[in-house]
């Protein structure tokens, strides 16, 4: 039972520090940790990026595969986001165990990318109703030191933005790959996910692992914007997580804060990769 006492003590410390606007690692409540973005590290993938946020490390790879369209969208390609927790990323991950956390992570990142309409999936169609490109965006969680969602969302976004797609030509009954790589059909829109943790009555941007262990709940908010056009700024996804709650006023504050932080992160992404593909 001592294992459950430590978080209680830690939570008290973290809350007391936060009353004077401070955190255990010296950050202010709204600071992100240091962010390193490496583009194109997996050169066998059509697109790739590794993002290191504090100690949290996610490598995302984009691969194309020819497949069937969904019956209700016969003329559209498919973007598919999945997340794998590599067991060395945390002592708590067990190999081979399906994990609702991985499923939620993948689906939250997926919604941010998808709902922003940054990618025109109709351009991923090869033969209407028959064959389309499936664009896999796979997130490998390699080291977990807190705030997986934002790290994975950034890695997925950068991998996608760095990708080129293969050229396919229909020849009678078959499809031929020309070997050429084409630019991706991007719209110039960039969605950014920002996660705020609620601990006590404060909101913490970019929660660390230690903070996640004692939080009440988190709210992840994705804001999208087309290029520099601030008027195009909109929310495109939200997800409250974990078993505590926020008041309606806290939700509103969190959205406001997420908007500001999303602009910072979007600038960083723009400096690393061409957001128009």
């Amino acid at each position: 039972m001592s294992a459950r006492i430590i978080p209680v003590v830690k939570r008290k410390q973290i809350i007391e520090l936060s009353d004077s606007g401070k955190r255990t690692d010296g950050r202010s409540l709204t600071d992100y940790r240091n962010i390193e973005i490496i583009i194109g590290d997996i050169d066998k993938a059509e697109g790739s990026a590794t993002v290191i946020l504090g100690g949290t490390r996610v490598t995302a790879g984009v691969k194309f595969e020819i497949g069937d369209p969904f019956p209700d969208t016969p003329n559209e390609g498919v973007m598919q986001v999945s997340a794998e927790f590599v067991p060395f990323a945390s002592p708590e991950f067990e190999p081979g165990k399906p994990d609702e956390t991985a499923v939620e992570l993948a689906r939250v990142v997926d919604r941010g990318l998808r709902e922003s309409k940054m990618l025109d999936t109709s351009k991923l169609c090869i033969e209407p109703g028959k064959r389309v490109w499936i664009c896999h965006v796979d997130l490998y969680i390699l080291d977990h030191c807190g705030n997986l969602i934002d790290t994975a969302a950034l890695a997925g976004l950068c991998a996608l933005l760095s990708a080129k797609m293969p050229e396919a030509k229909v020849k009678g009954d078959t499809v031929e790959l020309t070997g050429k790589k084409l630019p991706m059909p991007f719209s110039g829109i960039v969605p950014i996910n920002v996660t705020l943790a609620k601990i006590g009555d404060k909101l913490f941007a970019d929660p660390s692992f230690e903070e996640e262990e004692v939080l009440d709940c988190r709210l992840s908010v994705a804001f999208m914007q087309k290029g520099d056009d601030e008027k195009s700024l909109m929310l495109c996804a939200m997800q409250k997580g974990e078993a505590g709650y926020m008041t309606i006023e806290e939700v509103t504050r969190a959205v406001e804060l997420a908007k500001l932080k999303s602009q910072e992160l979007r600038s960083l992404v723009s400096s690393k990769v061409n957001i128009n593909g």
Binding site: M1, E100, V103, R107, M234, Q239, Y245, T247, V251, E256
Partner: protein, 244 residues
């Protein structure tokens, strides 16, 4: 994407409702014989059964928590509940919804009263016509009450969507699929506590603020229906006790 309009020029939705009007909602409490608590909800065409088992011994034992009850939720859709036949293997969507539903209900339960036990909430969607997670959470609250589990408050839930550019309350299936956004919220009124909040689609920050207002009002309306259902249920139970 919508080709026909979903809202008429005089503000009537394709199922006849006004912009801020709920579908017909009918809760039934105590409908199953093998559970500790149960509830059934018909929410428009959406039909859901919820059964609660527990507090009971955790299995396997090493999952038990020393200082409180462990809550689990299992959201499943029947193979015939949707337009296309659905494989009974749980989809990733069902896995995620099980998680957020558990997290939406947990803050309401006095789990600390039942250390080392499990409370399992089983949700079976028999027919899905939009807002199933909201209907499930609202019905599960009643099933927990039926199981005699002490709660801080009922959790009421509803969704707001954007359809033809307008915000509408209580999104049904067609509006969800063809509309521009969907935003479900779960709420404990007496605590001003948002226990579930999700959104997908595109809305401005101003629309977000209006949505939150509509969601709060909608949740209060659902809350009233939940309390009516409890009252009706216990009145019946009482009178049948008196008869006995």
């Amino acid at each position: 994407m919508a080709t026909e309009k979903l809202i008429s020029d005089d503000g009537i939705r394709n199922d006849g409702r006004k912009i801020d009007e709920l579908r017909e909602i009918k809760f039934d409490i105590g409908v199953l014989k093998n559970t500790d608590g149960s509830a059934y909800v018909e929410w428009g065409r959406t039909k859901i059964l919820v059964g609660v088992m527990g507090p009971r011994e955790s299995h396997p034992k090493h999952l038990a928590l020393a200082d409180k009850a462990r809550i689990d939720a299992f959201y499943r859709m029947a193979s015939f509940s949707v337009e296309e036949w659905k494989s009974p293997a749980p989809s990733r969507r069902e896995t995620e919804l099980s998680k957020v539903i558990r997290e939406a209900l947990s803050p309401a339960v006095f789990t600390e009263y039942f250390p080392r036990t499990s409370i399992d909430i089983f949700i079976e969607v028999l027919q899905a016509d939009g807002s199933t997670r909201c209907a499930a959470i609202s019905a599960a609250s009643l099933a927990l009450v039926d199981a005699g589990i002490p709660m801080r408050d009922l959790v009421a839930s509803i969704a707001v969507g954007k359809v033809d550019g307008q915000l509408v309350l209580d999104v049904q299936d067609k509006e969800d699929k063809e509309g521009e956004s969907d935003m479900p919220m779960a709420y404990m009124p007496s605590k001003n506590a948002v226990t579930l909040l999700q959104m997908d689609g595109q809305i401005t920050q101003e629309e977000f603020a209006r949505s939150i207002d509509m969601l709060k009002k909608g949740c209060l309306e659902v809350y009233r229906l939940q309390r009516d259902a409890i009252e009706a249920h216990f009145k019946v139970s009482e009178s049948s006790n008196e008869e006995a």
